[in-house]
């Protein structure tokens, strides 16, 4: 028996650094399970990679190519564009699509999107998490009143997605928010930062992407805005985002769902069983334990555990995509379980249900000291209750547009072979 | 005296695009200090022959498929056009080909650059060219693309002279020039020919002039050299008179004693 992971990876092009880290971590973890445990309950994990260069149509080509392979467990493209193009297709093919930390916010609603899982975090909860963090720094949500926050966002749909949420939270907590766009790709930000300096905000939230991040930090330094007052979002939180900025990044903080570092038991095991055996995926060993690598590992844990949970119900054999979907919908890893997996403090916990596909992930914040990230906060919970109605409104509209019948809990319980 | 031969073409075949045959065996030879005229009607292959001599065919997607062209003992195809210019083989292209955005004087200077002349030499040569073509001196600072057709032709010839050629190849130099200027040019060429031993190969439609100044002539038809001989002899032939000189065009043709 075997369970297959089609990997639409990208190791070339503008986002190669993220791709190599993430898919490296994912593969390392799958390797660990195979080598150490002989697979998941005897079911071997297999995979192959198809290069997408982060381009949608290459992702689609990969999808069509890889889907002919039997026993697919789940798709993990790590690209919003590709994920979008796959939603119709995977819904027809009944295989789950995992968009960890990214993807369509309203796909959190499992009633409308049975096969899509934006695990751990979606853009809305991310926003709420950031505001909660800033509040904790100020000493409580009520202290946010009359504070001024600037959001510097990437000029793309991704960057703009959270604009209404910031507005909403600003109204709710009484702070002012100014949202400033940086045109893609973001290699010039002089005017934006001059505007920021003039606005004298208490914090700047950086909702960046790729090269925009180091340039933001550098330009902030250039206009004399302190990095300690800048908070990055989940796509502005990697080593690749700060290293090019050099000293300008010291003191910069960013949100994350998984901490960096190689000290966690699961990473040590990976180093021991995978890298020391010469099977490690990262070419540059220094990148072991980096943010993207650890995200890949966490993603591996989530995928593998979903299979394990589904096996408990359907038997220790190769599962169908729909059965794996069931596994994801019962993916509950509390802190004890996370510790048992050797990932204590690597990530907090997850609690996915048939209608909540995000799983209420906790976030934490890391600060860059010029060499590495240091944890700078406790695990923080976003305000899920506040966000849920907004998400449902959006997903219901989608359901209406597409004539999708809302799924019920019973529908979710059954899984086809 | 084989050494006496500056340029020799031996049954040259050439095609464009590997499909269009333009030359089907052109042969002729040119002695040092001589003027050879190539005659032939439209599309006969004169320009192609000349481009083959300067090894310029590849740049027009053409190639010599067989045969040899020997310039002073070397096969021209194994030298780059620039090396040929440095060796003294310079061509005035059909259709002027001035550097349009360069001024007339810059065009002329560029001819000197081709053989890496010294500044002083360039200045001297410029004066000589201006002496031959006073009109150019008046226009020296005008972009050559804006000058008149004849002025462009003068510029092109002047530019070639600037590289102090030993074998000058001219493709229809008289085109678009006023009669007086044509006469001037051919006279100057003849003078250079006489004084400095300059060898000249000229393709001309204006056969009257060509045959008048040339020592020898070769007639090309359909890419084949069909007739060659001393210019004076050719001038006497009725068929040549009829066809190329336009004299007594209704003369009954006579078969040659081949």
């Amino acid at each position: 028996d075997e369970q297959y992971f089609p990997l639409q990876s990208y190791r070339v092009g503008p986002y190669a650094a993220g791709g190599t880290g993430f898919f490296g971590g994912f593969i390392d973890y799958l390797n660990l399970i195979n080598t150490r445990d002989g697979g998941v309950n005897g079911v071997k994990l297999t995979w192959d990679e198809c290069e997408t260069q982060y381009e949608v149509e290459r992702g689609v080509e990969c999808y069509e190519r890889q889907k002919s392979h039997p026993n697919a467990a789940a798709w993990n493209p790590l690209s919003v564009g590709i994920a979008y193009a796959m939603i119709d297709r995977i819904s027809a093919d009944h295989v789950p699509l995992i968009t960890v930390n990214h993807g369509r916010t309203d796909s959190t609603d499992g009633r409308v999107f049975p096969y899509v899982f934006p695990l751990l975090l979606n853009p809305y909860s991310e926003t709420s998490g950031i505001i909660n963090y800033l509040a904790s720094k100020e000493g409580g949500l009520e202290k946010l009143k009359d504070k001024k926050i600037v959001v510097l966002y990437h000029g793309s749909p991704y960057g703009k997605e959270t604009i209404p949420i910031y507005e909403l939270l600003a109204k709710k907590y009484g702070f002012t928010v100014q949202q400033i766009e940086v045109p893609h790709p973001g290699n010039e930000q002089q005017s934006q930062w001059l505007t920021i300096r003039r606005a004298k905000p208490d914090y700047v939230v950086l909702r960046g992407w790729g090269v925009m991040n180091p340039v933001a930090l550098k330009t902030a330094q250039k206009v004399g805005f302190p990095a300690t007052k800048i908070v990055g979002n989940v796509w502005s939180n990697s080593e690749e985002d700060v290293i090019p900025a050099g000293d300008a990044a010291i003191g910069y903080t960013a949100i994350t769902t998984q901490t960096s570092g190689a000290e966690y038991p699961v990473l040590k095991e990976i180093v021991k069983t995978v890298y020391d055996a010469g099977k490690g995926n990262l070419e540059d060993k220094k990148r072991i334990g980096s943010v993207y690598h650890n995200l890949g590992i966490v993603n591996g844990i989530l995928n593998v555990e979903a299979i394990r949970i589904a096996q408990a119900k359907f038997g220790n054999r190769t599962l169908t995509g729909d059965e794996v979907r069931w596994g994801f919908e019962h993916l509950k890893l509390d802190e004890a379980k996370v510790e048992a997996l050797g990932a204590k403090d690597l990530f907090h916990s997850i609690n996915v249900s048939w209608d909540n596909h995000e799983g209420e992930g906790y976030v934490t914040f890391q600060q860059w000291d010029g060499k590495k990230w240091n944890v700078a906060s406790d695990w923080i919970a976003p305000d899920w209750k506040l966000l849920r109605p907004i998400i449902e409104k959006s997903s219901e509209a989608y359901a209406k547009e597409k004539n999708i019948k809302l799924r019920t809990a019973e529908d979710a319980e059954s899984a086809t072979n | 005296m084989p050494n006496d031969i500056v340029l020799e073409a031996q049954s040259v075949f050439a095609t464009y695009n590997q499909t269009i045959k333009a030359l089907n065996g052109v042969s002729f030879s040119l002695r040092r200090g001589e003027i050879l005229a190539l005659l032939g009607s439209n599309g006969a292959g004169k320009s192609t022959t000349l481009k083959a001599i300067s090894n310029l065919l590849p740049a027009e997607r053409g190639q010599v498929t067989s045969g040899q062209i020997i310039f002073e003992g070397r096969e021209v195809r194994s030298s780059s056009p620039a090396e040929l210019v440095r060796a003294g083989l310079v061509q005035v292209l059909e259709g002027r080909h001035c550097f349009k955005s360069l001024s007339v004087e810059e065009n002329l200077v560029s001819g000197g650059l081709g053989r890496s002349s010294l500044r002083r030499e360039i200045a001297e040569d410029l004066e000589k060219v201006y002496l031959t073509f006073p009109r150019l001196k008046e226009k020296r600072h005008t972009s050559s693309g804006l000058t008149s057709g004849g002025e462009q032709q003068m510029t092109a010839i002047g530019r070639a002279l600037m590289s102090r050629p030993r074998l000058l190849v001219l493709d229809e130099p008289s085109m678009g020039l006023a009669p007086l200027i044509i006469k001037d040019i051919f006279r100057s060429l003849k003078r250079l020919n006489a004084e400095e031993g300059l060898s000249i190969l000229v393709a001309e439609q204006n056969s009257t002039v060509a045959l008048k100044y040339a020592d020898h002539a070769t007639v090309i038809e359909n890419g084949v050299a069909v007739l060659s001989g001393r210019a004076a002899d050719l001038r006497q032939r009725d068929d040549i008179k009829a066809f190329y000189l336009g004299e007594g065009s209704t003369l009954a043709p006579r078969r040659p004693a081949a």
Binding site: R11, D48, C50, E51, V56, Y63, G81, Y84, T105 | -
Partner: protein, 349 residues
């Protein structure tokens, strides 16, 4: 006079229309029954959409001689316009939405074509980048275009024409093929008519065209309009028939270059060149990547393979340009001629 070694393709043997008709018959009659899902979804659909875009750009660049680097923008305009027509005008048939989208793209094309009245060559080419960036910006900036989708992504509506649903993969293929065939046929008619010749006259010699009385300005704008119309419809196919969901970022500069590649590799000023070029540009990377991962997948990771493919693709493009600057279409002609002469030689021998 020079003699051509062998005769042109058309002048002997089978009638000219036979080949296109045979291809069309196969495309409509055989492919839907025998092609795998992979072939349709991953190869044929993008091939059709890009071919059509190539045909459109060829009108402008190949025939009228105006280089444009903003084709992807017009694809985007087409896709988003069709989406909005379909969404906002109740009961508008899908074909009408597509045609209307083409018209919108044509209108935008005319606006961005205005500089061509003064600019030439690379100055014009670079100025068309303004369209590329402006359109992408506007579509991202104003949520209205994507019906306020938080991610700026549009989803394709069902493709229902006269009660028949073309939303399945074969259906979308047939739909796209129908649209492409129709527009290609019309384009072919146009380029062989006086309008097409007018395009070429302004490409080859604007002054002469002006003096013989060809309305230069009008012709240029017409070229922009027609080309943008077709590219816009190609954008609709890309969005509705192929990907089913697109975001503005999908129509970026790389796409514009891809279309330009198609036109030049295929052959400027030939309609079939656009198809040959698109075939090469769509199929070749896929073949390379499949062959690469099949033979070398165990030795190298996918990144190394892909970078090597990039190098190979670049080298191939250069090699093509050197071997046959007139594009695949000309290369094809030459091959056919070569075969004919060989065959002919054998038959007569």
């Amino acid at each position: 006079m020079a003699s051509v070694v062998s005769t042109p393709v058309e002048s002997q043997g089978l009638p000219r229309w036979l080949l296109p008709v045979a291809i069309l018959a196969a495309a409509f009659g055989l492919v839907p029954f025998f092609a795998s899902n992979y072939l349709i979804e991953a190869i044929l659909l993008p091939f059709l959409a890009l071919s059509l875009a190539g045909v459109g750009l060829n009108l402008l660049t190949g025939y009228a001689g105006q280089v444009s680097l903003g084709s992807a923008a017009f694809m985007a305009v087409g896709a988003f316009a069709a989406f909005n027509f379909n969404l906002r005008v109740d009961g508008l048939p899908i074909l009408a939405s597509i045609a209307a989208a083409g018209v919108v793209a044509a209108a935008i094309g005319i606006i961005f074509g205005l500089p061509s009245l003064r600019l030439r060559g690379f100055y014009l080419a670079v100025s068309t980048l303004a369209a590329q960036f402006f359109v992408q910006w506007a579509l991202t900036k104003f949520g209205w275009f994507s019906n306020d989708n938080p991610s700026g992504v549009i989803d394709a509506p069902a493709l229902v024409v006269a009660g028949v649903d073309f939303s399945g993969s074969i259906g979308r293929y047939v739909f796209a093929l129908g649209v492409v065939s129709l527009l290609t046929f019309l384009s072919w008619r146009i380029v062989t008519s006086q309008t097409g010749r007018n395009f070429i006259t302004i490409r080859d010699n604007e002054t002469a065209a002006k003096v013989i009385g060809i309305p230069v300005l009008r012709t240029k704008l017409l070229a922009f309009a027609l080309s943008s119309f077709i590219i816009g419809v190609a954008g609709v196919l890309w969005a509705f028939a192929y990907l089913r969901t697109v975001e503005p970022a999908g129509f970026n500069l790389d796409r514009s270059f891809q279309i330009l590649f198609i036109v030049i590799i295929g052959g400027l000023a030939t309609i079939r060149g656009a198809f040959l070029g698109a075939a090469l540009i769509v199929v070749f990377p896929v073949v390379l990547s499949r062959v690469g991962s099949f033979f070398l997948g165990d030795l190298f990771d996918s990144g190394v393979l892909d970078m090597s493919q990039r190098i190979v693709l670049g080298a191939l493009i250069i090699a093509f340009l050197i071997l046959e600057p007139d594009g695949l279409a000309a290369l094809g002609n030459r091959a056919v001629r070569w075969i004919r002469t060989r065959l002919g030689g054998q038959i007569s021998a």
